[in-house]
Subunit: 352 residues, 4 copies
Amino acid sequence: MCAAANWGPGTAPSKMFASDNAAGACAEIVDAVVVVADQAHLAYGNDPVTAAATRRVAEIFETDVDLHCVSTGSAANSLALSALVRPWGSILCHRTSHIQVDECGGPEFYTGGAKLAILDGDDGKIDPGLLRRAVADRVGDVHSVQPQVLSITQTTETGSVYSLDEIRTLTSIARDAGLRVHMDGARFANALVHLDLSPAEMSWRAGVDILSFGITKNGGMTTDAVVCFDVELATELAFRAKRAGQLASKMRFESAQVLAYLSDDVWLRNARHANAMAQRLVAGLRATPAVRVRGSVDANLVFCELPEPLLSRLLDRGYVFHHGIPEPGVARLVTSHATTAADVDELLAALG
Amino acid sequence: MCAAANWGPGTAPSKMFASDNAAGACAEIVDAVVVVADQAHLAYGNDPVTAAATRRVAEIFETDVDLHCVSTGSAANSLALSALVRPWGSILCHRTSHIQVDECGGPEFYTGGAKLAILDGDDGKIDPGLLRRAVADRVGDVHSVQPQVLSITQTTETGSVYSLDEIRTLTSIARDAGLRVHMDGARFANALVHLDLSPAEMSWRAGVDILSFGITKNGGMTTDAVVCFDVELATELAFRAKRAGQLASKMRFESAQVLAYLSDDVWLRNARHANAMAQRLVAGLRATPAVRVRGSVDANLVFCELPEPLLSRLLDRGYVFHHGIPEPGVARLVTSHATTAADVDELLAALG
Amino acid sequence: MCAAANWGPGTAPSKMFASDNAAGACAEIVDAVVVVADQAHLAYGNDPVTAAATRRVAEIFETDVDLHCVSTGSAANSLALSALVRPWGSILCHRTSHIQVDECGGPEFYTGGAKLAILDGDDGKIDPGLLRRAVADRVGDVHSVQPQVLSITQTTETGSVYSLDEIRTLTSIARDAGLRVHMDGARFANALVHLDLSPAEMSWRAGVDILSFGITKNGGMTTDAVVCFDVELATELAFRAKRAGQLASKMRFESAQVLAYLSDDVWLRNARHANAMAQRLVAGLRATPAVRVRGSVDANLVFCELPEPLLSRLLDRGYVFHHGIPEPGVARLVTSHATTAADVDELLAALG
Amino acid sequence: MCAAANWGPGTAPSKMFASDNAAGACAEIVDAVVVVADQAHLAYGNDPVTAAATRRVAEIFETDVDLHCVSTGSAANSLALSALVRPWGSILCHRTSHIQVDECGGPEFYTGGAKLAILDGDDGKIDPGLLRRAVADRVGDVHSVQPQVLSITQTTETGSVYSLDEIRTLTSIARDAGLRVHMDGARFANALVHLDLSPAEMSWRAGVDILSFGITKNGGMTTDAVVCFDVELATELAFRAKRAGQLASKMRFESAQVLAYLSDDVWLRNARHANAMAQRLVAGLRATPAVRVRGSVDANLVFCELPEPLLSRLLDRGYVFHHGIPEPGVARLVTSHATTAADVDELLAALG
């Protein structure tokens, strides 16, 4: 292949534990994209692939939805939030949330300068007591931004998963106070299969108004999506997406990925697999002296304390993963749809 | 295929003259994406595919460049402009330019509220005399937005192509007045092969600071790009792109498209083909009584006056194209890398 | 006086025809400010002066109003528009309107990047036919900004005044199409006394939703106001004003000006006087050979063609006024509450 | 007086301890405004009063300055910050700072969505150790906002004053890391006389780039100011101020206040008086059993713990002040230029 000859082969997939977005794309999604490449369709989503994708999402979520395919999870979050908050509002979120720490102010940009109000809580989850205080903070006081949105991350950034009760507790507090609810579901599928719930149960039936629906990290290629359960926001979202440069001209390439993702349980299988690989990894790590697994491992993220010699040994053998965050001596190992049991076992063997 | 079973086959490619972004993607680009799908790479552009793409763009343009793959041409334009203009600046552009009429205020969003100052001119091209006046308009007057950027569209929205002299005339006026220059090159390749220039000649050597480098409309799939010749803007562009949700996590899927596009003259061949199909179409239309071709047909856009019976006949036979813009009785027929000579001849036969 | 010793006496008031905002402030307004200066009141408008001002505005306009004192007419316009338009909306306005040409993009800033759509029309007034087309322009097309607000300037920038019928024609077109209506009333009083209407008749009863209510140009000191007839916008306006740095801490100094302005017909007397001085000036100019008055002189703005020798003579004698706009040879002479009949006669005498 | 007859007399000045912006305006400032009211000057700061004010500020600060009179302290802060930070930057500030808690997101609005990064520290002051970490936080990481500005509040919100050494320690850390420095000097004069420094020493010589120069709280009427020591920012500030609706048309009314404020030591006398009244109050409170003064009282803000019976007694006698912030049982008593020794003694007598 001419083009591919220009770059190296990358990291051996068996050594890649940096992130689920470091994996390739799953075959079903690639196949769908290849089919679309030979077809002719009107641009900007006026095509049957996009229509089918929207129908499929509605079917999966058992309700009418407004679907916007966007090119990144950051865009999904920022766009979703911008439809829920006015510039003088605040978005209540966890201190570790992606919207707060990893989007370079994207939510502030899309919302016209709304403020993120930081909440704490163990295990990456918002503390309900703190939320209760925050939703009432200076309401009606013109000198202060006004609480308008709760943003929950499911799966959290630390790899834990909110139980259905935990979600409902938070969304009830928010909705009782008149706030809207956003869910950052970059790893929605991983949480879903962990809890063994239906998509509806873990989203709108649990009080979520709008969902950043992650696809990229679970076998996708170039698309994530906003799934909005309040279809009255559809027009606003459409204009906001267009202005943000997020209305793809060849939208069917994105929609085809969504469709393939949600066909034949591809998304659930990918997520179950990634989670299972994480559990296999955790089991091995727990059996490894000198290694300590941290926090809940509910999905496909594993944080562990790794003594320096072990850390160096893995790096020397070509393993790629993040370490030193949140502090020295901690490694983050992430499994994906592409991680095999052999990959995990090999890593564990390397640890000794 | 499971997913593809959910949608219909779309318009027959032979009948699709709606736009070049209604065509599929060319084989070379699809192939590159398929290769990437099996590889593991770090996210956010920290991968060898993206590095190779940047090297290739620099090679093609014979200079250091800063490359940002983005998901749409709208994002390319808005992002590029945001790095050149301050919120109190104005962007001088043609009345028909995409940034003015077809991006729902995207440039205003990305730039923090800069103003588009509209210029006229025949054949979709900015009139130099009007530009000369505009660059001096109320300069230094705090009550007025300040001219800061000239934006040229090459190929224009009406299908004409600025000659090199015409470009230089405009960019000289702009640069002499201290303005920066943006080129909307959604159809850069079509103009390039028409003029038979090198990429450098038609861009930075002609006074262009930053280029929206179109890929989607010329055989691409999900990416366009910003190519910045002023590498001092690289940092600003990087942060702006991230904030805008335009830093793709699996960036290598975009970069691979860029690489394939620029390998083995794929992009030039695609553009030459599309342009040739437009010329074949024009020749046929000119030979068709009652049809009148409008304006210059320098690239792959053909505007023509089509009497109602002919218009209806084409529509009845399943042809898909835009009509009624800018006024009733005018049809826009667009050819692409996927248009065949047989497709053109068949359409002409339908008319004749 | 110590402080005043630091600056010169300024232009002789008798020679000042530059603008109505070049005049000082009327005695009644100064007196009210002096009274407030000795009082103690809670900040941010939580004071009886502001309450009384709001009551008085409601009384004058014969309806509930939401009042926001702001420091400039630019702020009044931008703030008012921001409550009526979403970022993807457009504001339809005359080519010569202050919001388009003299606010350096303030409306774009306050609205988060909405677009001003320019309309033409004679005598500084929007042409109804053009408005009719503009309100329907690409409605529902996600690629285009959406018409959401009509902004009328009363008194226009060229010194003409819309008749009540003309206003109603425009607001009907706008409202029928679902647009909201803003009136830039920097010289509201001058138009009002010219038409001999009640404030209600020329505003909300004529279809105006929100009014930039000018005070500065008609004898005020440091405040203009937004008067909103749609009280459901009150909360949004309050938060937007605060964010914009327009919630004055010692608000009562602004409110006192509003109250004094609206007490004892001060505002109407000031406006009648300024208009009468303009008529006196026009009568004299019309009697002056070689001088030609331009356009309607309905309020206190006089545009006239002045041969170079006359222009120079006025300047030599110390007269201060704008000239050369919109073109060489045209002078703009503005009268105010502070212009005396003697001042006018003296200027006319100077012209010979 | 007609207008003043519309409102009540307000709180007796002797009972007003709510804030320094609840006091009236000092005589010298009122006098200057009255003088201007009879003069004619060109608008928008093109007048000798504004020129004299700029000269006087430069003289007082012993350096070239760029002066912008604005209508509120919020506008001063937001405008000043907007010239120092890009949208992807962060502004490091104390948790209690006005820009963080009391401006409803004004800084986010003016800056196009920059982020406020919150620092802690005792007595309302930023902890240098925390600042040292914050200036290095994720520098160069495109996923994170970038530290670009340090904002110090002098006098702090809790009534303490940074020593010169404390300021220098913070500004050195900031400047060494490439950050610019903003000082929120809403109560600059109160701090200045407390430290007995020159204006230059406490500002640009101590590393401050731009100053929100408070006037309103120290005897002013309708203006605060931005004083910028980096005159290269002048153009940017001018355009930003205009866009924000902060370029007053009758600017000389603001400039005259600045001049009067800075003439004959008015500002220093006002501040010394307010501070002295606070010390008198503190001395009395400390002698009052059951009352406990909190934190440093370096300027004119006194926080004290007041048992419920005493609190109620004060309220019953008509005293106006804030209480319950930051927690129940705490009262904030603020003195001003208008507070008399008798007022203080009377309040103390009421307590006990």
